[in-house]
């Protein structure tokens, strides 16, 4: 249906064009001419203004123009986006051939915005352009890496080191408690979702723009409130064909300073022995006899084996390689870009790996002066060797820290020693090295994205663009766990098991855009109206098998027991939108947009939402009174306000469904159905109102640019899973409740200079964001997530989202007298934690009543700094980024500092409380009990402040003077990524965020981050 109507629209406008194209124009003294670019191509839409007057015209499709003048001669000012402005004296009746030169000045750059482009100097919203030149030598396995430290207000965290892993991106804080907080990614005009996934080659990217404020994002309506990342892929530039071939190779390692230090075999045996004897000393008040100590750890000094499991799981010098070739050309009316790339990142954990093979073809062409078309196709295959889950204490990384160090990796015969621990009171784990190498776990994700458009210019000022986008994603996953792999406390042999999944997604969208561009004298106006519709459907097929005849045939056919299932889900949206940009006298800038959008995800009665936005700017530097200040090339004040939405909730969240709960009667299956959730027919958009005030400044012939920004974003009707009393039958339901504020300042500055042959640039930004819950209008005015023994995050009015919550630990009880004089803690013994009595009732209750906010997971500020320079053939760049003033709850220490003696523990455990005479360092509890030790408390809080020297790159570029050589340019470069981390945080990665969402700032150990050294070569032919 939709497509039919877009055709209809197209006919309508074609008709209009035919109707009006023959209108003639009046005659008087005039200048005519044509405008071309340096390649000789006609420039349409250039502004021609008569100096000293307000009159102006635009060049037509063939670059031709005619402008009436007063008197015999005049000076024409010709300007166009992306070109240097020229002044040309002309006499009446003359014909001018004008060649516009492309302008490198940042201010004249075109910025990609939603459904269009805009001159940077006329932008009135908060739009950040990522400097891709600064990251050209960085080894990139996922394109989200390109955003690190580049834009103020855009927090990019590498929460995990998984090969090919996506970085976590937040624009202007966490704007939602329950509906997702990742930005919308739009690739070549196609909104692909809130994740860029793994199927994208970063080398194909021409530019990245991040839209932050409401006037920039409201045009994306219900998906705009978390910011929008616009990615444009490369296309051929005018000129001769260019072939670019590059190759990068590198190695990855974990620096020893970033490894967590655990006890070795002998130390662990000593720890076990001490626990055993201390318990008898305390509970039975006697000195134990050595013969009482179990033989396994009676003589720690005799322990022969000591395995550092974490080291054993590492793949030292894991290779990283990247090969890329592109051919771009642009002559006559066809511009094209073809590329192929292959990236392989072997993981720093054994047998983990990411491969990406990508091919792309982009082609744009002008059919004639009025019609142009384009097609962009990208096919990509991404493969992951994940060797089982890695994150968290129950998986490989956690297990490699806490597994018994007294067991060897291999038996004397070379086979794996399979079951680690599982004796003398130590937890049993699968040998993590064996799990990595012997468990097959592989996903293959194939994706095809295509965009096609046709654009018709008519009536000189109108353009109609119709585009169709499609995405197909085929994701298959297979895991096979052989029978000899133990489980947690489950020795082998067990049954082998297999899991298979196929998840296929298809997503289509279509846009119909009508634009009107015109200049009347001092006025320049740009109008956009459009319609878009998008539909996504995912089908799933899954199967599992167990009880295999042997481990050699890991296919379902060999399984004695099988399970299977299939599913389907999807969503759709459609929207009308419009925008007006208006510039008056190059000084006063206005913009307004509106979108009305409907989504299948929302309740029956609230399907549609409205998203308006307005902004204004004042280019003070163009005022007469500023004309004396010659060093100032641009000064602009701007402000915007608008409403955006967030639809990141489950597809059918407003509806209630039945689910199967079968039963048996008379030895036969009977079908049973129960209600699986509560409906909410009024479920609707999460709405954010955002105010943005900014100042843009450029000085010293644009060598220095500076932007400062203030914003205040208030999110209403937050989509939340509201905890319900269980007596309702359920524990939660989805509703629009609550209000959150994110406000902050952003500063960005760039300085670029050249002194003789030395070029230097510095690019820095600082972001300060404060988030605060303003209201949670539920029956219970707070949201508590997490658990009593594993860290709580609380969201309640006046506090930041997901503030870390628990007992405040005041120290350890030195002795019974200390316990007696403190508030009552039921069952406390010397050596357990002393907690703060928050409700002053002289009792610490064993629940949340005495818990307080013990940490803030949100940084006071984050920053990025890039420094670069060049000298003759050499260039270098350094990227620094960091975050300051936030807390991390190190939940992994519930295991790595577990005093039961069932796990290996951190080296610091040696400083635990032993007895009154030997009280340790005052923050580590006794081994005699567990109560008053494991509860969520401030003992596990650490400052996460850190600074990364994220990357250092140097390069050498050689442009041979003699064209006899085959190549035009040769570039050699070396790069070090994740170079140096400066922090007091004891964990390996202060950007970790194991749970995410409203459970921020918890460290349960993630895939470690490697330091990568790469060397590359790049030929341009």
């Amino acid at each position: 249906m939709k497509n039919k109507h877009s055709l209809l629209q197209l006919f309508c406008f074609t008709g209009l064009w035919l109707l009006f194209s023959s209108i003639a124009q009046a005659q008087s003294p005039q200048v005519s001419g044509s405008i071309k670019d340096e390649t000789g191509a006609a420039v349409q839409g250039a502004d021609i203004i008569i100096k000293g007057s307000a009159k102006g015209v635009q060049s037509g499709p063939t670059g031709k123009f005619t402008i009436p003048i007063q008197g015999a001669s005049a000076t024409l000012i010709i300007s166009h986006v992306g070109f240097a402005t020229q002044e040309i004296p002309a006499s009446a009746g003359s014909t001018q051939e004008i060649v516009l030169k492309r302008n490198a000045s940042a201010l004249n750059d075109v910025v990609v915005i939603g459904y269009g482009t805009q001159r940077r100097r006329e932008v009135t919203g908060a739009v950040a352009v990522v400097d891709l030149a600064a990251t050209k030598d960085v080894p990139v396995a996922n394109p989200t890496r390109l955003l690190v430290g580049q834009a103020p207000g855009v927090t990019v965290r590498q929460a995990t080191g998984r090969p090919g892993g996506e970085f976590e991106i937040n624009v202007r804080g966490l704007g939602s408690l329950g509906a997702g907080s990742a930005p919308l990614y739009v690739v070549d005009g196609f909104p692909v979702g809130t994740s860029l996934g793994q199927n994208f080659n970063g080398s194909d990217i021409e530019n990245i723009t991040i839209l932050k404020d409401a006037v920039s994002t409201a045009i994306y309506g219900a998906r705009g409130s978390n910011g929008v990342v616009l990615i444009t892929t490369k296309n051929g530039k005018p000129g001769a064909p260019v072939l670019n071939v590059s190759s990068t190779y590198g190695i990855q390692n974990i620096p020893s300073g970033r490894k967590v230090k655990m006890l070795d075999g002998q130390e662990f045996a000593q720890f076990k022995k001490d626990i055993f004897m201390d318990k008898i000393r305390y509970f039975e008040n006697r000195e134990p006899d050595i013969t009482e100590v179990p033989l396994d750890y009676r003589y720690p000094e005799q322990v022969k084996t000591s395995t550092n499991w974490f080291d054993a799981t590492l793949h030292d010098n894991a290779p990283f390689s990247n090969y890329y070739a592109s051919l771009s050309q642009g002559n006559n009316n066809i511009h094209s870009f073809l590329s192929a790339g292959y990236t392989r990142q072997e993981g720093i954990l054994l047998n983990t790996k990411f491969d990406n093979l990508s091919v792309r073809g982009n082609i744009d062409g002008k059919v004639n002066d009025n019609i142009s078309m384009g097609l962009r196709v990208n096919a990509d295959l991404a493969s992951n060797n994940l060797a089982q889950a890695t994150e968290g204490r129950d998986n490989i990384v956690g297990a490699s820290l806490i597994a018994d160090p007294r067991d060897p990796i291999r038996n004397p015969d070379g086979s794996y020693f399979a079951y680690i621990g599982g004796h003398d009171g130590v937890f049993g784990f699968a040998n993590p090295v064996m799990s990595l190498t012997d468990i097959q776990s592989r996903s293959n994700i194939g994706q095809m994205v295509a965009n096609a458009f046709i654009e018709i210019s008519f009536l000189k000022n109108f353009k109609f663009k119709s585009s169709l986008n499609g995405l197909l994603n085929y994701n298959s996953y297979k895991q096979f766990v052989p029978s000899y792999i133990p489980g947690e406390n489950a020795p082998p042999p067990r049954y082998a098991s297999e899991t298979d999944q196929q998840i296929n997604t298809r997503n289509y969208s279509t846009d119909q855009l009508l634009t009107y561009n015109n200049t009347f004298g001092n006025h320049r106006i740009n109008v956009l109206i459009g319609y878009t519709a998008q539909d996504e459907k995912t089908t799933t097929l899954n199967a599992g098998g167990t009880q295999y005849a042997n481990d050699l045939t890991p296919f379902l056919g060999s399984a004695a027991l099988k399970t299977n299932g299939s599913g389907e889900y999807g969503w759709s949206l459609d929207a009308f939108f419009g925008r007006i940009n208006f510039v008056f006298a190059e000084k006063y800038l206005f913009s307004g947009s509106f979108r009305r959008e409907g989504s299948s995800r929302f309740g029956e009665n609230v399907k549609y939402g409205n998203f308006p936005a307005l902004s204004a700017g004042w280019r003070i530097s163009n005022e007469k009174f500023m004309s004396d200040i010659s060093w100032l090339s641009d000064l602009k004040l701007r402000g915007s306000w608008g409403i955006t939405g967030n639809n990141g909730i489950p597809n059918y969240g407003s509806l209630a469904f039945m689910s199967n709960n079968n039963y048996v009667l008379d030895n036969n299956l009977v079908r049973g159905q129960v209600v699986s959730n509560l409906p909410n027919p009024t479920l609707k958009w999460e709405r954010s109102g955002q105010l943005d005030l900014g100042v843009d400044l450029a000085a010293f012939r644009d060598k220095l640019t500076f932007t400062a920004e203030y914003y205040n974003k208030i999110t209403n009707d937050m989509l939340l899973s509201i905890p319900l009393p269980a007596i309702s039958g359920f524990t939660s339901y989805l509703a629009n409740i609550g209000k959150v504020q994110n406000k902050g300042f952003e500063f960005a500055a760039r300085y670029k200079t050249k002194v003789h042959s030395v070029g230097l640039w510095v690019n820095g930004n600082i972001s300060i964001n404060r988030n605060k819950v303003l209201a949670i209008n539920g029956p219970n005015d707070q949201l508590l997530a997490g658990d009593f023994y594993g860290g709580y995050n609380i969201s309640r009015p006046g506090s930041p989202i997901g503030a870390i919550f628990g007992f405040r630990m005041l120290g350890v009880f030195k002795n019974q007298a200390d316990i007696d004089k403190s508030p009552f803690q039921d069952g406390a013994i010397p050596g357990v934690y002393k907690y703060y009595d928050a409700d002053h009732n002289d009792t610490i209750s064993y629940d949340t009543k005495d818990m307080v906010q013990i940490g803030n997971p949100w940084p006071k500020f984050t920053y990025g700094l890039s420094i670069g320079g060049d000298f003759k053939h050499f260039d270098f760049s350094v990227l620094i980024n960091g975050a300051q003033g936030y807390d991390i709850y190190r939940v992994i220490e519930a295991s790595t500092m577990n005093m039961d003696g069932v796990f290996n523990v951190l080296e610091e455990s040696k400083q635990r409380y032993r007895n009154e005479q030997n009280p340790g360092n005052g923050r580590l509890a006794t081994t005699n009990t567990w109560k008053w030790e494991r509860e969520s408390n401030s003992r596990y809080i650490y400052s996460g402040s850190h600074m990364w020297i994220k990357n250092i790159s140097i390069g050498y570029t050689f442009n041979p003077a003699t064209p006899k050589l085959m190549f035009k340019s040769l570039r050699l470069y070396a790069s070090g990524d994740n170079m140096f981390l400066f922090t007091k945080y004891p964990g390996s990665n202060p950007e970790v965020n194991n749970r995410g969402g409203i459970n921020p700032g918890l460290d349960d150990e993630a895939y470690p981050l490697a330091r990568t050294f790469t060397f590359g070569v790049n030929f341009t032919f």
């Binding site: 939709k2 109507h5 209809l8 309508c12 318990k279 509970f283 039975e284 179990p294 004796h423 020795p491 067990r494 049954y495 319609y531 009880q547 004695a560 889900y569 759709s572 009308f576 299948s600 399907k607 597809n651 059918y652 509806l655 209630a656 469904f657 039945m658 709960n661 079968n662 039963y663 009667l665 008379d666 030895n667 079908r671 049973g672 159905q673 129960v674 209600v675 409906p679 509201i722 905890p723 319900l724 009393p725 269980a726 007596i727 309702s728 039958g729 359920f730 524990t731 029956p779 658990d787 023994y789 069952g827 013994i829 064993y846 629940d847 949340t848 039961d900 069932v902 009990t929 567990w930």
Partner: protein, 501 residues
């Protein structure tokens, strides 16, 4: 000219707006039935009733934690290598339960979710079409029986509990409910069971065996009266079970034999089936000693839980010659680490064809329970055992291979019955309730602390030298009731906690 353009645009957009027909944005989960279109006919209502039965499986799977472990019947196969359960399941053995217990939390959620489905189905039944009054009555009777059973369990756990018998109009209503006095909870249970007695048939036709019957409703009502100490009501009610055709199996073990499910002795059991996907039970995998691998389950890949281990106390309580001992308790497994015997519950250990999938039903009400309840009610009512009371008690003893008893005083008859119930119904999730029912809170406290001291001094399963904590096996009177899960009080701070916690 501009006006024309605007008009044309307006027309085109109006056309497009029509295209975004509502159906385009109306999506529903294609894999599930929406609640809006369910509960419409007899078949769907039967499925909704079955769903409520289905939920009982989940409840029975974990009920031993709250009903057997705190009693003197069972303990744990202590695992020094995994202390992760020390604040969870073990707390029920060591009397260190607190409101953060994840087991209580999930149990509470399961009970009220099942109650919701019963309430909702009862309410929706009014709107269904093509439902005869008799079909409706049988459905209602079953749902009320199950609801009464769930509330009976809940009030034994927590005393005063929230009583909710309707689906909520809106979610926020959930905050308006407070814990109801136990007597009101009992009144609701009695009313539901009386309806069920009237509505339910004595027997079902083939294909429906396993549904709640009139006998089940009467037996449960008798148990409720007995618990409320309404002895004459209990006698009257339980007497009505006698003519319904129940009898004891000749062999005690047959009551638990998957080959002989729903036999003559069975009053109500929760149904499982090893051969049906997702419907199997796996109790023995939870109850077999930790290191027994395949020795008890028959499947060497097993990694059993080692929970609900029979205590020395119950092992030693059987009279010589009691056939029930061998049918209930296995004493043939020695730990490979310590070489010592680790006992286990044998009632639910039966050979099964597929690893992890057992065919054992869970017995809820058996005829022997009815006979012993009746004997108890008579003794309490008359303050003296009557001939009938001896007849019922001796019938149970006779089947166990034991000599009749006679000439007992009120108190010794009561004591004999307590012992008889303990061994007859061992590990069937009644012991903890029986202890609470037959003792005053102070008596219970002394009794449990005596048992605890014995178990602590001489654990059934060795702790391999690991000493107890000071708080282990210390029972306080308030612990006869469980704490309301902490989550519930976090969500609804107005909800009161059980005193003591």
């Amino acid at each position: 000219m501009r006006i024309i353009i605007i008009r044309l645009l307006a027309i085109t957009f109006t056309l497009s707006s029509v295209s975004c027909a509502k159906s385009y944005l109306n999506k529903t989960d294609p894999t599930k039935v929406s609640t809006d279109v369910f509960y419409k006919d007899a078949k769907q209502l039967e499925q909704a009733v079955n769903g409520v039965y289905g939920a009982l499986q989940g409840i029975a799977n974990d009920q031993w934690i709250t009903n057997e472990l705190p009693s003197d019947n069972t303990t744990i196969d202590f695992n020094p290598g995994d202390r992760g359960q020390s604040d969870r399941i073990e707390a029920f053995e060591f009397y260190t339960i607190n409101a953060n217990s994840t087991n209580l939390n999930s149990s509470y959620i399961n009970y009220y979710n099942s109650i919701y489905n019963a309430n909702n189905t009862l309410a929706k039944m009014q709107g269904a079409t093509g439902l005869s009054d008799s079909v409706k009555a049988v459905n209602e009777g079953q749902l009320k029986f199950i609801r009464a059973y769930l509330y009976f369990e809940l009030t034994q756990y927590y005393g005063d509990v929230i009583l909710i018998t309707q689906p909520l109009d809106k979610p926020s209503d959930a905050w308006t409910y407070q814990r109801e006095k136990q007597e009101n909870v009992y009144a609701q249970i009695e009313s539901d069971l009386k309806d069920a007695v009237n509505d339910l048939p004595v027997k079902y036709q083939a294909g429906h065996i396993g549904r709640a019957t009139k006998g089940a409703a009467l037996s449960l009502l008798g148990k409720v009266f007995l618990t409320e100490k309404k002895y004459s009501d209990a006698v009257t009610t339980l007497n009505q079970v006698l003519p319904l055709g129940y009898d004891l199996n000749d062999d005690y073990a047959d009551a638990f034999n998957p080959q002989k499910k729903n036999g003559i002795e069975s009053v109500f059991e929760i149904q499982y089936d090893a051969a049906i996907d997702g419907e199997w039970s796996s109790f023995i995998y939870t109850f077999a000693p930790r290191l027994s691998a395949g020795a008890v389950t028959g499947w060497s890949q097993s990694n059993p839980g080692g929970w609900n281990i029979p205590t020395n106390d119950i092992i030693n309580t059987y009279e010589a010659g009691d056939k029930r001992k061998d049918a209930s308790i296995g004493l043939n497994f020695q730990s490979p680490v310590t070489g010592l015997t680790v006992p286990y519950i044998k009632k639910y250990a039966h050979p099964h064809a597929v690893y992890g999938r057992t065919d054992d039903n869970w017995p809820v009400l058996r005829y022997s329970d009815v006979l012993l309840m009746l004997a108890e009610a008579i003794n309490e009512q008359d303050n003296n055992p009557t001939t009938d009371a001896y007849t019922y008690l001796n019938k149970v003893r006779h089947r166990a291979g034991l000599a009749d008893v006679s000439g007992l005083s009120y108190q010794s008859f009561k004591d004999t019955l307590a012992h008889e119930r303990r061994v007859e119904l061992a590990f069937e999730n009644w012991r903890w309730f029986d202890l609470k029912r037959t003792m005053t809170p102070a008596e219970l406290t002394t009794f449990i602390n005596n048992y605890a001291a014995k178990e602590k001094a001489n654990p059934t399963v060795t702790r391999q030298g690991v000493p107890y904590s000071n708080t282990d096996y210390v029972f306080s009177q308030y612990e006869a009731l469980f704490p309301i899960p902490a989550n519930e009080i976090i969500v609804n701070p107005k909800l009161t906690q059980t005193p003591g916690y």
